[in-house]
């Protein structure tokens, strides 16, 4: 099988590391060779963060390059636009519609682009955009945005729900498991 590529993008502190950890666990359990690449260091301080997840029969490079991503999972809509050049021609974006102003916008040095979901779709990219923050809050915690997104991503994977649930169980603390399962279902079943 050809190597498949998932990029997880967002803003430092949004919880993308848990998402990549869970995906890594899931794909390993399915017998794939897997590589997950993170950038540590400055990521906690509100900067743009990206994690690469690659899987297949044999994975070499730990990173994903422009035009290679089968999926971009985005925690914030501006970040989806920033990393769009990395999407493969028939790739799929799954994005939260939340807006988080970067410092140049806060200081007035730049403007936050309007109506990014439409503009992303106009490029011809396949975009699945949903308000994950509301869904996460509905599940019981604003912090569950990552699990809502994974629930949505599971739509596009031909994997049994049981496998996703096992990875969820292995990676979230027991006391938050029910809440996260709810977040997963809300993301998955959102029309």
């Amino acid at each position: 099988m050809e190597t498949k590529n998932i990029m997880i993008v967002g803003v430092g502190g949004q919880g993308s590391l848990l998402a990549s950890k869970l995906l890594g666990h899931l794909l390993l359990s399915q017998g794939y060779d897997v590589k997950v690449s993170e950038v540590h260091g400055m990521s906690q301080r509100g900067g743009s963060v990206v994690t690469y997840v690659r899987y297949g029969d044999k994975v070499y490079s730990p990173v994903i390059d422009k035009g290679e991503a089968d999926y971009i999972v985005s925690f914030e809509i501006l970040e989806a636009a920033r990393w769009l050049p990395f999407l493969k021609k028939d790739g799929q974006i799954v994005t939260n519609t939340q807006q988080i102003d970067p410092m140049p916008v806060i200081t007035g040095a730049a403007e936050y682009p309007e109506d990014l979901v439409s503009k992303l779709k106009e490029t011809g990219a396949k975009v699945d955009a949903l308000d994950c923050l509301s869904l996460a809050e509905k599940a019981g915690s604003a912090k569950a945005v990552n699990i809502v997104l994974l629930g949505r991503l599971s739509h596009y994977f031909d994997l049994p729900e049981e496998a996703w649930m096992k990875s969820l169980e292995a990676n979230v603390p027991p006391k938050f498991l029910e809440m996260n399962k709810k977040a997963f279902e809300l993301g998955k079943n959102m029309k």
């Binding site: 017998g31 897997v34 590589k35 993170e38 950038v39 730990p62 990173v63 769009l84 806060i106």
Partner: protein
């Protein structure tokens, strides 16, 4: 799909830590530095290994040497620039050799994800005449760590294990093994371990012979391996570059993968070159393998095709070799940058605002507070290396005199001060410049992700430890003026700064408040803006807080970020900031 692997996904740095555990390492001393930090943090989770954070890399390496001398396998880790600090012991440890195995991780940062330069650590291996191994994924990181101890003891040498950001911070599949602890007695050996000229002269020929022996090892050991494929193109490569080569070419080319990059083999390279039509070297940063191949009289293409700057990727390699790459999408929109910023509630913010307001020339240092250089604060005018702020402010003031002394300050963090600020402070006290040094004490090593240091009172495991009193230390070094301020209190910061800049004596200002991200730090209720009072003057925007923005001409606060530090409300001329706690009560 059938289960192909019994292994587990593991971060490269964690795989090194696992290798240390399996190799029976008993002693680890390191100073944190991205991308090396997790090796020591992960190793500290094994109860069988003694681990500590040292004040700096030189002390860490010397401590590891002592443990090796005493007969236990030992280790230290640092980032590339950390090895500069530890270069002094390294170069002479090459002469003494080791007793029990001693392995040193150095983690390079091609692409400068979190570093002040892009130096290639292989130069240190060559100059110090010590072997260097370079894994290309987590599996090799674990295996090479164990092999490094065998090499260290067999050849009586410290061994460098070179990581890079993409190997250190990528997870791939590893297979783990059991821990075996070798034990060597300590034996007094003055001729080997006391490096005074008479003894060192006798050790140098041993070092040169060792290099010859290591070259033989490099010719034969499977750590350097040939993967024959198509013979039109042959590629010599190492580290993460190997992964990009395989990604782009698969088996269509032949590859000589070097797991040991110092010393380099000769016959192996010659025989590989003879089997292919055209030879290339694919290596990040400097042309070290390439120059070696050229010195062997072999025609090779390297840096004329591939850049000497920045990290590689599969597309970069494919394009250089004239292959097609995937076209991505393009969006016709200006995407604002999202640079890292000081967190909401960061104690550094109030201090840097005060320095900027007083029009200070700020010579900075290495840490989160380096972000004091970016807009809107834009307060720092120099950052060089760990500890340089204090040395530099002294030189600056000595040549610029009284005018400079009234406006120039050094700013250095608590951990960086312990690392290499103290000797700079001794210089100011000894050679008497009227310099003002600000120690921004956030009670943790923040930048690398919250490691303890000698001023925090806790060790790497979080247990109580010795605690150095910064005020007492500065006084003992001859500073009569040591002031402590709370950076959340702008008025106090301003008054104390003005006094200390204008006094004709060297002084230290300790700006003390723990990092807002520390778990034990209690936050106040978020603030809110009273929009009836707010006049939209943007005074609060001068501090660059990510929790404050302007909406419809009025300031607004993101209550998921605000920690109620109240610095913004001290900026506001009309008292528009109010606590949400009062209104809820």
């Amino acid at each position: 799909m059938d289960q192909k692997n019994n292994g587990q996904l593991m971060l490269g740095n964690k795989a090194v830590a696992r290798g240390l555990y399996e190799a029976g390492v008993c002693f680890i001393s390191s100073y944190p530095g991205t991308p090396s930090t997790e090796v020591t943090e992960e190793a500290a989770k094994y109860d069988e290994i003694y681990c500590e954070w040292a004040p700096n890399e030189k002390v860490a390496m010397e401590s590891a040497f002592g443990a090796s001398l005493a007969g236990r396998r030992s280790f230290c880790a640092q980032k590339h620039v950390g090895l500069n600090v530890a270069a002094d012991p390294l170069y002479t440890m090459s002469y003494t050799g080791v007793n029990a195995g001693l392995v040193i991780v150095v983690a390079d940062d091609a692409g400068m994800h979190s570093s002040q330069n892009e130096q290639d650590s292989r130069h240190h291996a060559i100059a110090a005449k010590v072997p260097m191994l370079e894994p290309s994924d987590s599996k090799e990181a674990l295996e090479y760590t164990k092999l490094a101890y065998e090499i260290s003891e067999k050849f009586d040498t410290p061994v460098l294990l070179k990581m890079c950001t993409r190997v250190a911070h990528s997870q791939s599949i590893v297979e783990t093994g059991e821990r075996v602890v070798p034990d060597k007695p300590y034996e007094k050996n003055i001729a080997k371990y006391v490096m005074m000229p008479g003894n060192a002269k006798k050790r140098h020929p041993i070092v040169e012979q060792r290099t010859q022996d290591l070259i033989k090892f490099a010719e034969e050991n499977p750590i350097n391996r040939v993967e024959m494929g198509g013979t039109e193109i042959g590629i010599i490569t190492c580290s993460t570059s190997y992964q990009y080569v395989k990604e782009v070419f698969g088996d269509s080319v032949s590859v000589l993968k070097l797991g040991m990059t110092n010393p380099l083999p000769c016959d192996l390279i010659k025989s590989f070159a003879a089997k292919v039509d055209k030879l290339f070297v694919v290596e990040e940063l400097d042309p070290i393998i390439e120059n070696h191949v050229k010195a062997l009289g072999i025609e090779v293409t390297g840096k004329e095709l591939l850049p000497i700057i920045d990290e590689f990727s599969q597309n970069l390699l494919a394009k250089a070799f004239g292959k097609d790459v995937n076209e991505g999408f393009a969006i016709d929109e200006q995407i604002p940058a999202r640079p890292p910023v000081m967190c909401a509630g960061c104690p550094h913010r109030g201090l840097f605002y005060t320095l900027k307001k007083n029009n200070c020339t700020v010579l900075g240092d290495i840490g989160c507070y380096t972000l004091g250089a970016v807009p809107p604060l834009g307060a720092i005018e120099m950052t060089l290396c760990m500890g340089a702020s204090i040395g530099a402010v002294h030189g600056f003031n000595k040549v610029r005199g009284a005018e400079s002394e009234k406006k120039t300050v050094a700013v250095i963090g608590d951990s960086t001060f312990m690392h290499s600020g103290m000797t700079g402070l001794a210089n100011v006290a000894y050679n008497q410049s009227n310099s003002t040094i600000v120690i921004v004490d956030n009670s943790i090593t923040g930048m690398t992700g919250h490691q303890q240091n000698p001023t925090t009172g806790y060790n790497i495991k979080g247990d109580p430890a010795g605690k150095i009193d910064l005020e007492a230390l500065c006084k003992a070094m001859g500073f009569e003026r040591v002031r402590v301020v709370d950076p959340y209190n702008l008025k106090q910061c301003d008054e104390v700064l003005k006094e200390e800049l204008n006094v004709e004596a060297p002084s230290v200002i300790i700006s003390r408040r723990p990092c807002a991200l520390l778990k034990y730090v209690k936050h106040n209720a978020p603030l809110k803006v009273n929009t009836d009072k707010c006049v939209g003057c943007k005074s609060c925007m001068k501090i660059g807080c990510p929790a404050i923005s302007m909406k419809n001409g009025k300031a607004t606060i993101d209550n998921t970020l605000c920690v109620g530090c109240n610095v913004c409300s001290q900026m506001c001329p009309v008292g528009a900031f109010e606590s949400t706690a009062e209104s809820e009560a």
